[in-house]
Symmetry: C2
DNA sequence: AGCATAGGCATACACCGTAAGCCTGTCAAC
DNA sequence: GTTGACAGGCTTACGGTGTATGCCTATGCT
């Protein structure tokens, strides 16, 4: 018989604290961060908060809604840099902070990528508002400001995605791949790096040590400098 | 009783052509492009090629392997630009081509994002080889070449992701959102754009017309110019 | 002709999201 | 106090998923 079905007057109450949307979303986010996106199921989240799956539906409309909640929670994690400085410093810190958020919740990129729908909650839009404000204060007109916003935003997301996804880096994410030994048409994976044929992909082979040694922070700062320098040169060329 | 269980000597044979890994992958890619990533299930793919789900397992190890096949097929779609030109033109065309591929198969970004494992098939690495070769021919040393490769690659992926995902653009992807009217804590969605409170997000409100009107091609070229100009300035500053 | 094998198929299991409905503890109105 | 509404848990059930296991047949080699 289920809990809560105790006789009346029984001494100790169940004492489970009330379920709330926030508790649910928080648990789901934790699961996503710890166990990956596909581990986030209604049953798994329910178990995490000590409840049956269907009970969640009193607090979230459906799974989509729960995922929306996760997105909002991630956006809420953005800590706004102090803006009382030259715009370019604020922009740089904002970009770094966005990268920090994405790296702290790397699976949120996949979440955005396959749901493909815009944020709707006001609170989630505040980082965007911040970015546009910084750009505007640099004296850039609104039209170009949108271009720059998208370029910077895309750059940050893409670089972090390559960083955490290791799509090309060839040395990382060994754990996920380890048990997949060749059965069909596949390289043995384990020694993938060593057996790249130099005559067919000489540039990759030559670049391998640098790919392996590449520091993600330096990587990011390099690209950010490139973009910000380009943007700044446009500002001084056409001052407001 | 199943098909193929006909009496011997029956006039018309089933005539189904042999199942191959390529046919399966091709069908899966088509489904992903037409119906989205979540539509790609073993049963759905099997139906597409006129077979039962379990028959696929004679040609792919598991679903992961099938998804690997999709990734490889997408990479095979990359058409290499003519390289007998100044490196910066080749680089520009390579970037455009990569964007074309990603836009033709927009769901592959989500696929990369949540699988997070490197490409292993040699053929899939040829576009990377191409990119590194172009960068190297610009006279950039290998270490910095890797930085530039990652920056450009990340930029392209991120910008296309924002482009197709419409994460912030607020005007698009109406169809996917239309039937989700407010039940829980949610804005009505339909009139989302109009009801953004100007006092709380003035910069977004001001930017909205430009967000809506922003031409993705111009957007991409803008960012690409910014990056390539920055890269070129480093080349002339420190010639090989 | 006999037989191995490749490549189909059917069944079964555990897990998924969620519709429908039930049960109980809380609380306001009388 | 009793009553009734209701919020918020729970159970069951249905159709979907990936895939392990095993069967059956058509093909090709000897």
């Amino acid at each position: 018989m289920p809990a809560g079905n105790r006789k009346i007057g029984e001494p100790e109450a169940p004492v489970r604290e009330r379920l709330t949307r926030d508790r649910i979303v928080e648990a789901a986010l934790r699961i996503m961060d710890d166990e990956g996106l596909e581990a986030v199921s209604m049953r798994r989240v329910a178990r995490e908060v000590g409840v049956e799956a269907m009970s969640l539906y009193h607090h979230v409309r459906d799974k989509e809604d729960l995922l929306d909640g996760i997105c909002a929670a991630v956006m809420r994690d953005f800590r706004f840099p102090n803006e009382d400085r030259p715009w370019i410093e604020v922009a740089r810190d904002g970009a770094r902070e966005w990268r920090r958020v994405l790296r702290d919740h790397p699976n949120v990129i996949a979440l955005w990528a396959d749901r493909q729908r815009p944020m709707t909650e006001l609170e989630s839009l505040m980082p965007m508002e911040f970015a546009l404000r910084v750009i505007q204060r640099a004296g850039i007109d609104e039209r170009e400001g949108v271009l720059i916003f998208n370029v910077l935003g895309g750059f940050i997301m893409g670089v972090v995605m390559m960083e955490v996804g290791a799509m090309f880096s060839a040395g990382t994410s060994r754990a996920k791949v380890a048990d997949r030994n060749a059965v069909h048409s596949k390289l043995p994976d384990e020694a993938f790096v060593q057996f790249l044929p130099e005559d067919q992909v000489p540039c990759i082979v030559a670049a391998l040590p640098h790919l392996a040694a590449c520091d993600p922070d330096e990587q990011f700062e390099f690209g950010l400098d490139l973009l910000l320098a380009g943007i700044e040169s446009r500002v001084v060329a056409a001052p407001a």
